[in-house]
């Protein structure tokens, strides 16, 4: 399962206005960034997973959290060794390896990364890309070509991934040993794949552009979409809750 795919549904999260969803994801992220307490960051993550679970997206949220935690771990390790404030925690002879400040800051930062990114990633599960794009054009008055860039970029990700695997297969069939256990060797082997991938991508971009032009891409205006995206009381409620959350986080956490 692709973790950025839309999950069809009719929960309260799905029914929100796409703009509200986008803004809510950003505001939630902002609250996480402003928050300075490790426990509260953890609380933000749990809260997000709980909200998703209520909307029937619990599994997706957990899997995303797991994947983000790997990224978090990377940040954790970096912070742990590079922040050298506070008292010594682990010491080898005269050399201080880990400090209390380092540990606290590493924990906070890695959890913050997870907490901030989680709502943004979950946005894709509850919003079809086209709706987001159309709503941005209609409500936020974003020029259509920029909204189009956004949706196209996302639509091309799985395409490129398929293409990449095809190219990898072609090279495997020629005797390139991708099954090697040596990580550095593997990276060295993947590098030559970039050439055919780049060539085919550029070709694809060119033909997509031509086909969009042929179908009157430049004629599209804000009125072209037939769907309307009205704001409702529900959206206002979400805005109020999230803005209070940001204020609360900035003032007290």
């Amino acid at each position: 399962m692709n973790l950025l795919n839309y999950v069809p549904g009719n929960s309260f999260l799905h029914r929100l206005n796409p703009i509200t969803k986008l803004a809510a994801a950003f505001l939630y992220g902002l609250a996480c960034i402003l928050c300075g307490s490790i426990l509260m960051e953890l609380g933000f993550i749990v809260l997000m997973i709980a909200v998703c679970a209520v909307a029937g997206l619990g599994k997706r949220a957990l899997r995303l959290t797991r994947n983000l935690l790997i990224l978090g771990l990377f940040m954790f390790v970096l912070q742990l060794f590079f922040v050298r404030t506070g008292e010594a925690l682990v010491q080898i002879g005269e050399f201080v390896l880990i400090t209390t400040g380092g540990l606290a800051s590493a924990l906070l930062l890695s959890l913050r990364v997870v907490a901030t990114m989680l709502p943004l990633m979950l946005l894709f599960a509850i919003t079809p890309m086209n709706d987001l794009c159309n709503a941005l054009v209609k409500k936020a008055h974003l020029p259509y070509r920029y909204a189009f860039i956004l949706t196209t970029a996302f639509r091309f990700v799985p395409l490129f991934s398929t293409e990449f695997h095809e190219i990898q297969d072609a090279q495997k069939a020629r005797g390139v040993d991708f099954e090697t256990k040596n990580l550095f060797r593997k990276i060295g082997l993947v590098a030559p794949l970039c050439v055919p991938l780049l060539v085919s991508s550029l070709e694809k971009v060119n033909s997509s552009a031509i086909s969009a032009e042929m179908r009157g891409f430049h004629l599209r205006t804000r009125q072209s979409g037939y769907k309307e995206y009205p704001f409702t009381g529900r959206d206002v409620l979400i805005f109020v809750i999230l803005i209070s959350l940001v204020v609360f986080s900035a003032l007290f956490l």
Partner: protein, 278 residues
């Protein structure tokens, strides 16, 4: 050369599944895989060199079990020509491109130089060309030259002539046929082009929905219209016409043979012969 033993395969998303498929291809055979889209032709071709591995059953390539032998190892035996040469080409010059496979397979440098020079001449290519801005036919030739330079014992062709003009197609296929006859290279060709299958293959495997519907000499299969129809394959035109003309045209497969048969039968009322059969 290739042996499928009760092979089953399915993609994770549930696409084309192959169920309990068994067949054997002898060394030196020229075999064509035909069938409608989604019949499992490409899947079978990829099972042969370990790009895909069977979920159950075994595939043996020259005695090596593809389940446990790495693809890079199998690649020394089996050359694979893809439909789209652009997925294969990754070097900046034709020379380097042809040498690529031999390099990764660990050939000695002097042997590589020798083979590259020979390949450039055989396929009418120039070593300093930038492969990506050559024509479709030339790119396909470059890819084929790269595959054949390693002297594989088995050549797998996945719709090798799509997008090529008639002359390019004949040129490539004639060369492959020559290698098949002279060097006893086994060829497994996936194709939709029945004329091509009829002209070059010796044996045909007919697939439908991942199952083997028919397996036999090309002349037998081409005349078996119900079988081809069942596999949703349009038979080549001349054999179909010959079939309509009746038994006296039984061994007519090419335009030349048709012409000669018509001359022979002139005045005997070939059309009547066909009508009587109905």
């Amino acid at each position: 050369m290739i042996r499928f033993e009760h092979v089953s395969f399915g993609y994770p998303n549930g696409e084309t599944t192959i169920e309990d498929l068994s067949f054997h291809i002898q060394k030196g055979d020229f075999v064509a895989l035909i069938g409608a889209n989604g019949a499992g032709k490409s899947t079978i071709s990829r099972l042969c060199n370990g790009l895909l591995r069977p979920l159950s059953g075994r595939v043996y390539l020259d005695g090596q079990d593809t389940l446990i032998t790495p693809t890079s190892q199998l690649a020394k035996k089996a050359g694979f020509l893809f439909q789209n040469p652009d997925r294969q080409i990754c070097e900046n010059t034709v020379e380097a491109e042809i040498a690529f496979s031999m390099k990764v397979q660990g050939w000695p440098a002097d042997k590589i130089r020798e083979r590259v020079a020979a390949a450039l001449e055989t396929f009418d290519l120039q070593g300093d060309w930038f492969p990506f801005n050559r024509s479709r036919g030339e790119r396909q030739r470059i890819a084929l030259a790269g595959v054949l330079a390693c002297e594989p014992e088995l050549l797998i062709l996945d719709e090798p002539t799509t997008g090529l003009d008639y002359l390019e197609c004949i040129r490539i296929m004639d060369h492959i046929k020559m290698l098949n006859l002279e060097k006893k290279i086994t060829v497994l060709m996936v194709s939709h082009d029945m004329e091509l299958v009829q002209d070059y293959a010796g044996r045909v495997l007919v697939l439908s929905g991942g199952k083997l519907l028919g397996d036999g000499p090309v002349k037998e299969i081409m005349k078996n219209e119900p079988l081809l129809r069942q596999a949703r394959v349009l038979p080549a035109q001349i054999p179909s016409l010959a079939l309509a003309f009746g038994d006296r045209f039984a061994d007519v497969f090419t335009i030349r043979e048709m012409y000669e048969a018509i001359c022979r039968e002139k005045g005997r009322g070939i059309c009547r012969a066909g009508r009587e059969k109905e």
